[in-house]
Every structure is written in C-alpha cells, then in structure tokens.
C-alpha cells in the first residue's frame, strides 16, 4: 500500500490488533477422526429451535434429518455420523457450571454411510425458489458466526431486488483462519457457491472482500474466479472489524446501510465464504451441513491449525486432537474480539463455531481497569462513530435513556473501544448490560401493556355484563308490571262482568 492510500484511503475506524493467525493458518487442513458420539444441539442458529423427528434407539445415516425447522426463521439439524440415536433432550454437562442444552445424541457406528443424496447437475437451470428450498432443507446457516438461516436471506434479497452479492472473506478476528483455509483449499467451491447464491437472489455481480493479510487466499480465489467476469475478488485493508457486514459494504461499495435498515435495502446482501461453500455442497452434492472447518488456536494449544470436524464433536475432543501444552486459562468460542467464553470443554461444536481458542495465562490476562482519562481512543476506534466513553459513563450512572440518546442501539459490540482503551475499561460489558436491561424493560412494557389491555377488556366486559343485567332486570320489572296490570285489568273485567 502506498503512502497516499495509507493516509487517505485507510479506514479511519477500527483497530489493528496482532492477528496471531500464523502459524496456524499455514498448517495444512487436518481431518478429525470421527468421534464415538456426537451431540447435536437443536438450537444452533438464529430463530426457532428445531423439532426432533427421530426416536431414541432409531438407526440414522450420515446426513439424515434429525430435527426439522420450526417457524419462519429456523433451520433443520442433520446427523453428522451414521449410528444410533441414544438420547433426545437436555444434555446436562457433568460440571455444575455447565448449562444444559437440548440436543440429540447419536452414537457413531463408524460405517460412515450417507443417506441417499439428490445432487443437482445444473443449479442455474433451477428456479431461485428451488435453490432457496434446497438450501433451507440442508440446514445451511451463516457460518461466519451470525448463524442466520441462509435461505431466509435469499428470499429477502430476491424480494428487495438486490443487485450485488458481497462475499465476506474478511475474517478480521485475530487467531481465526477457518475462512482463510476454505478459500485456500476450496476456492472453486466458494466461487461456485457464490454464483449459485447470485442466481438465487438475482444479483448481477459478486464482490469478494478478502483482507490483504491473506495473500494465499486472494491468489487461490483469483484463479478460481478467473472464468467468471461477474465475480470480482477485491482485497481490502486488514483492519478489525472489516468482516463486519456494515463496514465491508462501506469499504467495497461506498454505501452505508442506514440505521435501523437492512443491507438489502441498499441493494446488497452479504454471505460468508464458508456459507457459500456450504451452499455449493447442499446444491451440487445434495449434502446437508454436517461438518465444518474450525480453527483451533491459542497459546495453550500444542499443534494449532484448522480441523475439518463433524458438528456435535465436543470441544474437549478437538483440543485433545491438537494437544494442549498448558492448562488453558481461558476457552473462547469464536474470536478474541467478539467470542463467547466457555466455562468448560464439554460443549459440542456448532454450525457457527469458526474457532475454538485456548488461551494460556499470558494471553488471558487483561490488566485491571483504571479511571477513564478521556483520551478519546475509543471514539476514534469505533467503526460506528459512537462515543463509547459517554455511553459508558451514562450507563455507570444508571442513566440508560441518556445512553440510548447516544445511539447505544447502533453499537455492533465489535469490541474495538474496549480493546484500545488504555485504562482497560470493560466498555462492551457496560453496553451488553445496558442492552440487556433495555430488552428486559421492553419485554416488561409489552407485558404491562398486555396486562393493561386484559384489565381494560375485563372492565369493559363487567360493564357490559352489568348493563345487560340491569337491562334484563328492567325488562323483567316492566314485564312483571305489565303482567300485574294485565291481571288487574282482567280482574276488573271479571269483577265488572260479575
């Protein structure tokens, strides 16, 4: 990059953490020997949990449907191995701190028999709706970590007439290289998958954004994309969070996604490179999503690298395969900037897990927080242009509404602010806490609204009942009076007659 670009074209937002991607990224892909048992959580995507359709004791084949999608936004779950279903329901981790999760346990019979698949010779002859249907049936969700059902996004893109597909090969999180690995080793699948997605959403071009710290991936993808003029490989500066949809869209197209709007409304749709490869598998080979490439990395790992593993494999087994040279001081699902801490390794590999990091004591140490020195580093780093220090000070003072006025809701939780803070203030923790509070408040408001509506209904009903009752009483009274009058009249008449 020239000096000019460095000064004027370099994004002004974001941070540049040590990427720690190598040597793990350069180690050839390894394949995990299939585990004896897999645990498939029913809820490993955005939306409704899947509903089991198998029975305990049932024999299943690899790729067989275990649980079907439930609701508009959901995804089905398929068996990653051939074998026997041994349990359905809560899998309680043996440790007290382990959260229970609903899962289907399958005992591997090591025959590796696949279900009957339905490969498609020419996906471009299929209707876009058919591609979406097949992708949904294969359980493909966003593999970059968002885990949003891919087919739902196809439908959205089609409806809003999206013109540009953005293929996200940013992978800006430090330590992770699973997307890099997919692009290096399976570039053809990624490009083919991207073209199928284009067909599904009706896009005219695809822009593949790859951070320039992955020259091997860029080279491989350029070769794979060469025959297709509509697919363009676009190296982008390595800068966290380049892999965030909004920032990648801005960098590649110059467009900003308006606040409270979806990317499709400005004519673009973003899919991750690994998701594209999964779409290729689902359409061309009819294979549902039952395995993925995951980066095992971190200072406590002996032989870090990328592993192709069946979904449902326990994190402990993955770590054991790569070897641990120290007891991990911290386990993280995902990358260090946005990943979730894991309390133990008896958690299965899920669709959205791009990496498992085992940090040694040195990596896990974050210095204690000090007072804010108002240095403004957080403001400069925020890719959304927010004022983290102001929001945090409002939240600390309990003034949630003031934090909302600073557009807390626009925060993408990327962690740039907390990363750069020289006083190591856990800013994102404040924001997550506040967002949780606000969501709870919203729910409570809905609840009171509903209660109020019920109460009002009840009062109205009581009033109506009372009114009906008094009307009835009045009618009865009138009837009685009329009857009396009639009787009196009759008596009079008989008396007169007598």
């Amino acid at each position: 990059m020239g000096l000019f670009e460095r000064i004027f074209k370099h994004p002004s937002w974001g941070v540049h953490p040590d990427d720690h991607k190598r040597p793990a990224a350069d180690v050839p892909l390894r394949i995990l020997p299939p585990p004896a048992r897999v645990y498939m959580p029913l809820h490993q995507h955005v939306g409704g949990a899947a509903r089991p359709i198998v029975l305990v004791g049932q024999q299943v084949l690899k790729g067989q449907l275990l649980a079907e999608a439930q609701g508009n936004i959901s995804a089905p779950i398929h068996s990653p191995v051939a074998g026997t279903v041994t349990a359905i329901g809560e899998v309680t981790a043996p440790h007290p701190s382990g959260l229970a999760f609903a899962a289907i346990t399958v005992e591997n019979d090591f025959t590796n028999r696949w279900i009957e698949t339905d490969p498609v010779e020419d996906p471009f002859a299929l209707a876009p709706e058919e591609i979406a249907r097949r992708t949904a049936a294969a359980g493909v969700v966003g593999l970059g970590g968002a885990t949003f059902p891919a087919a739902v996004k196809f439908a959205l893109g089609k409806r809003l007439a999206v013109t540009t597909l953005i293929v996200n090969g940013g992978e800006c999180e430090p330590y992770l290289s699973s997307d890099d690995c997919v692009m290096r080793d399976f570039a053809d699948q990624v490009i083919d998958g991207a073209r199928i997605v284009m067909h599904a959403i009706g896009a005219k071009e695809a822009l593949v954004g790859i951070e320039d710290n992955k020259p091997e991936a860029i080279a491989a993808m350029r070769i794979a994309a060469a025959p297709f003029s509509e697919v363009k490989i676009r190296p982008v500066p390595a800068r966290y969070p380049m892999g965030s949809d909004k920032q990648l869209i801005q960098t590649l197209t110059g467009k900003e996604v308006p606040a409270d709007a979806r990317a499709a409304e400005v004519g673009v749709l973003v899919h991750n490179v690994s998701t594209c490869a999964a779409v290729h598998q689902a359409i061309r080979h009819g294979r549902p999503l039952v395995e993925r490439i995951v980066t095992i990395n971190g200072g406590a790992v002996d032989k870090p690298g990328n592993i192709m593993a069946p979904l449902g494999t326990l994190v402990d087994e993955l770590l054991a395969f790569c070897g641990l040279k120290a007891r991990p001081a911290r386990l993280i699902l995902g990358g260090p900037m946005m990943g979730t801490p894991l309390l133990h390794g008896r958690i299965p590999l899920v669709k959205g897990a791009s990496g498992i990091l085992a940090f040694d004591a040195r990596e896990a140490t974050i210095p204690p927080a000090g007072p804010c020195i108002r240095c403004g580093s957080c403001t400069k780093a925020c890719p959304m242009g927010l004022l983290p220090l102001e929001m945090a000070s409002r939240i600390r003072a309990g003034e949630l509404d003031a934090a909302v006025d600073f557009k807390l809701s626009d925060c993408i939780s990327c962690g740039c602010c907390a990363y750069v803070c020289p006083s190591h203030i856990p800013l994102v923790q404040y924001f997550s806490h506040a967002k949780g509070e606000l969501a709870a408040r919203e729910r409570a408001k809905l609840r009171t609204d509903a209660t109020r509506r019920l109460a009002e209904d009840r009062i109205a009903r009581l009033e109506r009942d009372a009114k009906e009752k008094s009307a009835l009483a009045a009618r009865r009274k009138a009837e009685r009076a009329a009857a009396k009058a009639a009787a009196a009249a009759a008596e009079q008449a008989t008396g007169a007659a007598a």
Partner: protein, 357 residues
Amino acid sequence: MSQTIGIAVAAPHAATSNSAGRVMATVMAALAPATLFGFWLYGWPAVYLWFITVAAAMLGEAFCLRLQGRQATPALLDGSAVLTGWLLAISLPPWAPWWIGAFGGLFATVLGKQVFGGLGQNLFNPAMVARVALLISFPVQMTAWVAPLPLFSAGAPGAIEGLSILLKGLPPALDAVSSATTLGFAKTEMSRGVDLMASLPNAPALSWLGQRPGSLGETAAWLIAAGGVAMIFLRIISWHIPLAMLAGIALPAAIANAVDPAHYLGATAHVLSGGAMLGAFFIATDYVTSPNTARGQLVFGAGCGLLTWVIRTFAGYPEGVAFAVLLMNSLTPIIDTYIQPRIYGRDRKGVPLEPVK
C-alpha cells in the same frame, strides 16, 4: 479436562498493550529534552525548583488518595501527578523561590484535580489552575524572570549557591540578571508610551534556540515543538489542537501586525514566546480537559489560540496561554455536546439515512 476454566468475562478477550501509565511516560519523554535544556540554561535553582514542584504534586495526590482511604501506589504510578507537577514546574520562572513550587504543586493536584474526583474528572487543566492561582497570589515572584545563565558558565550559581537562591530568593548581587520576557517588555514599554518600533530593537532577543528569558522549560520553542511532533507521530496526541492553536495565535497576530506594526507584535514573536508552543503541544492537548472529536479539537484549539492573542494584546497580563486554556476548558463540555462524530448510517443530526440503491 472437565474442570471449569477461568471466569465468564465478556469479550473482547484481547487488549492493547497501551496503558494510561505508558501514555504519561511518553508525554514525559517528549517533554524531557526541553526540560533538560532549561536546566542547562538556568542552572541549579531551576533543577531544584523542578524537583520540589513535582514532589509537591505527588505529595498532594498521595495525601488525597490517603484521605479517600485508597491505596496511593497504583494511582501515583500512573504518572499523571508527576506530569501535572512537571508541566507546572516548567511554566514557572526558573529562579522562583522554593515555596512557589511547593505551593503550586500541592495546589495543582489537590485543588486542581482531586477535589473534582481525581484523574479524568477535572474540568480544568490542573497545572494551569495552579499557575494562574500563583500568578494572582504572587505576581512579583511569578514575573521575576532571569536572563539565561547556563550551567558552568562564568557567574552561574553553583550547586550550593543555587540552593540558597531557592531558599532565600534572588540575592541582590544577582539582581542584574533579572530581566523581562519579550511579551512583558513590549507591554511595559507600550504602557510607558514607547511604541514597538522604538522599543523592539532593545527588547531581549527572540530566539529559536531559547537563549532568552522565560519560564523554565518553555523558551526552547523548537525542542518543545519537536517533542510535540514526536507525540503526534506516536499517536499520543493528534495534530488538531496544536495546529489550530498556533494558527489561532499567528493569524490574528500577523493581520494586526500588518495593519499597525507600531502597536502589534508579529506572528513570530507571539508563537515563539510566552509558552505558546508549550501550550499548544502539551497543555491544551490534555485529554481530560479538551474535546474528544477531531472537529471539536479544531474549535477548541483555535479558541485557545485566539484568546491567547486577545489576552496578550488587550488585557493586563502579557502572557495569555494559561488564561486562554482555562477559559476554553470551561467550554469543552459544550463543544463535546454540540460537536459529535457522525454515526454510521445516520446524518449529523442522528436521523437515519435514506436507503440508496
């Protein structure tokens, strides 16, 4: 491996290696050359004064932390108290008596910073608060400038003699070396009815090398500027405040001087003297008391510069930096409220953008 690992701390699980202490240390390193030059220029009394001021500032900080029942060490080690004392020391007349430094140092950290709630809470720059308090309380000592008398040169006070100057004030024998700063000289002469055309040729020479009377560490304008530029390159500060402030002084000075050179000093004299460089690079850029956004910093810097020129030119005090910075400090919250960065996907007013295909 089924035992629990670590604790459920939220992301990010990585942090910059930077720290508040490191920021302060870098600023001090940038300040060191000018300070050492000041030591050389003004000799032992200046060295002693610097130590006393810094020690007093630290003492004040430690005392307040103790009062709050907090451990003194971690907060003292972040270096902010040292830096405050240091900035105050180098803006004092180099041969000021010891109690000026002691009083100023204590004042800076106790009343300038800790009463507001400590690091990050103060509205005004502590060093400048102390300097203004000293200037108002002890105008004589605070304007007793001396001509440079470099260390080891003939007539310069030795280590022992320096100590006595510090304790007893200027001995009559050395009274001859007392002198006026460029700005002070111009002001006095003008009040006597001598205009600049006549007085300037006799004024103490203005020099980039700092061989002139002035406060302890601010006379070597180029060393200060070099330190400041280094801080910009190290990304400790951004260029906005220094540039805006220097422009804010230089532009009105140049215009006024072009119109009426007999009554208005030129831009060079203004920028090179009276701590303008020190103010622009090290004082106005204080994180706590300056705005957080680039555009806010431009406004703030320009305001500091303009006010400095106005005070120097029209008010009673020949040196305006401290007053100007304090005035602008009080506007910082307002600037921060009105000038905010544009949020992604919204216009400057915070309204969501219209979707464009």
